[in-house]
Assembly symmetry: C2
């Protein structure tokens, strides 16, 4: 493992017998006033020495790192991962690299992560962690130091959002169940303090009312985005409202737990209880009773966030809350 020493542009220039600034002109790609022969000589020298440009030095002088930061929650929820992967690939397509930070359980290290990104002079930051909804410290950093785009609301605003229309999602899922003739429709939600949850809940109520049904507190149970929480919420729901015949679940991940709990309770799906969820995570259709799910454009959300961020970095002003359409 004899490690290769990095060669600098000066060594390349020396080999090609030009000044290192000239070598720089050629190697940094732009079309510049250099004769074809010298250019060739320089490229040959670079290849021979295995020259790898030093982005750090370049960033320093250019005052731009072509790097963006991504702060994600560590929930092993596929939904967030999906958006993150898409975001990274989109960023790379535009020549940017991505520095990630995954929040620890409580999300208390969010300010540290963001600060570390800022110290590394990322050109922009994408926040994909529900925890930031409550973090004013992070919000302040995001607002004042660096362009940012968030997938969640940020306290105090000032950061553009990208997301999907959660209310519509809730409405769509619930009205689907209502259209099937169900009259006792429960819901297993995400954490109440998240906006997503409240929006979807509104959509859920909208749909109930539109179907002439009255929302009831007994039909709503709070989950925590995990299969475990989904299962617990379901048990609670069955206890409080044994007559229920349909459930709208706020995420596919929780739906796994919901299906499990229903099975344990001896309810058949979809014969006894119909389940509709949302996210459209890859495995949804392969679950044991195949899951009906509202497709949320997660990857598109990630892609769009990057687009917006890069535009913002480029200096274009960007507005707020863009909504995408679920199917």
């Amino acid at each position: 493992m004899a490690r290769r020493r990095y060669v600098s542009i000066k060594e390349v220039a020396a080999l090609a017998e030009v000044s290192f600034q000239t070598a720089s002109k050629v190697l940094s790609g732009g079309q510049v006033r250099v004769s074809a022969q010298t250019a060739e000589r320089i490229l040959a020298a670079a290849a021979e020495l295995g020259y790898q440009p030093n982005t750090i030095a370049r960033s320093l002088v250019q005052q731009a790192s072509t790097t963006i930061g991504l702060v994600a929650s560590d929930t092993t929820d596929l939904a967030i991962t999906l958006a993150c992967v898409a975001a990274e690939q989109e960023a790379r397509r535009h020549g940017h690299s991505v520095l990630v930070g995954h929040l620890a359980a409580g999300g208390s290290d969010a300010p540290d992560i963001v600060r570390s990104l800022i110290e590394r002079r990322v050109d922009g930051i994408i926040a994909a962690a529900p925890e930031v909804e409550e973090d004013t410290k992070v919000a302040e950093l995001l607002r004042s130091y660096v362009p940012a785009v968030s997938l969640q609301a940020v306290p105090g605003g000032g950061v553009p959002l990208v997301g999907s229309n959660h209310r519509e999602t809730g409405r769509l899922a619930t009205s689907h169940l209502a259209a099937l003739g169900h009259v006792s429709i429960g819901t297993v939600t995400g954490l109440f303090r998240r906006r997503v949850t409240r929006s979807r809940l509104h959509g859920y109520e909208d749909a109930l009312r539109a179907a002439g049904l009255e929302p009831s507190e007994d039909l709503v149970a709070e989950g925590d985005w995990t299969p475990r929480g989904g299962a617990m919420a379901t048990r609670l729901l069955l206890e409080r409202s044994p007559e229920l015949t349909a459930i709208f679940v706020h995420s596919d991940t929780m739906a796994i737990g919901v299906l499990g709990a229903l099975w344990h309770a001896g309810r058949r799906v979809p014969a006894d209880v119909a389940v509709v969820s949302c996210d459209d995570i890859p495995f949804a259709e392969y679950l044991v009773p195949p899951l009906t799910t509202v497709r949320i454009p997660l990857a598109e959300t990630g892609t769009r966030a990057v687009e917006l961020l890069l535009r913002s970095i480029a200096g274009e002003p960007v507005g707020e809350g863009v909504d995408l359409l679920p199917v």
Copy 2:
């Protein structure tokens, strides 16, 4: 969104009325020969101006970026994600940031990703993508430019591996089934060309032989790590060997598809067919027939990889193939 201009250490120094080098000594933390009062003055000035150190400049002079690269496959397989998240958190615990790159579908952009990491002068690289098993170009880069640790074998060697004992995993899962009295035990594998698959297959055969059973080609079906592939392989298996009463699946993700396919085929789990899988992904226990799964220490793998990498960066020589124990 009036963006704050970054203030340099010189401005801080000017405000504190010291030379910027002295300010540097104080702000970069080490205990140095500076009087308590001046130190205080400098810190106050830094706070007042909202000074954020510039890691880029620091990296340039220190010839170390305190950043590591992580190249992951984009498979939305939770297993890999789990390891990646753990790796990032461990790296951060040691003051390092993580630059990620997710391979595109075919994995053909792996060399580009690695090159970009090298140009950004990462101190080391962790490869968590099965695709690299076949990529000699990547292997060459990893060997010659930068310390690396891989979770998969690398063509030509020279890169330390971290992983779990896959053969043992296969043996464990299969012998569990054999101990339950099953005599016709099938297996839904990962892609044949991956080492993991072959190792687990060996373990599977080991266990069969130990139980006095003869391995048969008809009992082995290749999957592709997706629920979809798992389902297809299962159908194939049922067709070729209808008498089978147990299946060892090479990943929890595929197991979802396997369970689905069995259900569609009218086989009850575990009454008609027993299923054992491996990974111990969070939702395994909540699947409809709860999944029996061999726990693979994914997070620990990520953590260990970072440990090893940092040791390697620090100059300690490291060996090869470390195995961890599944339960």
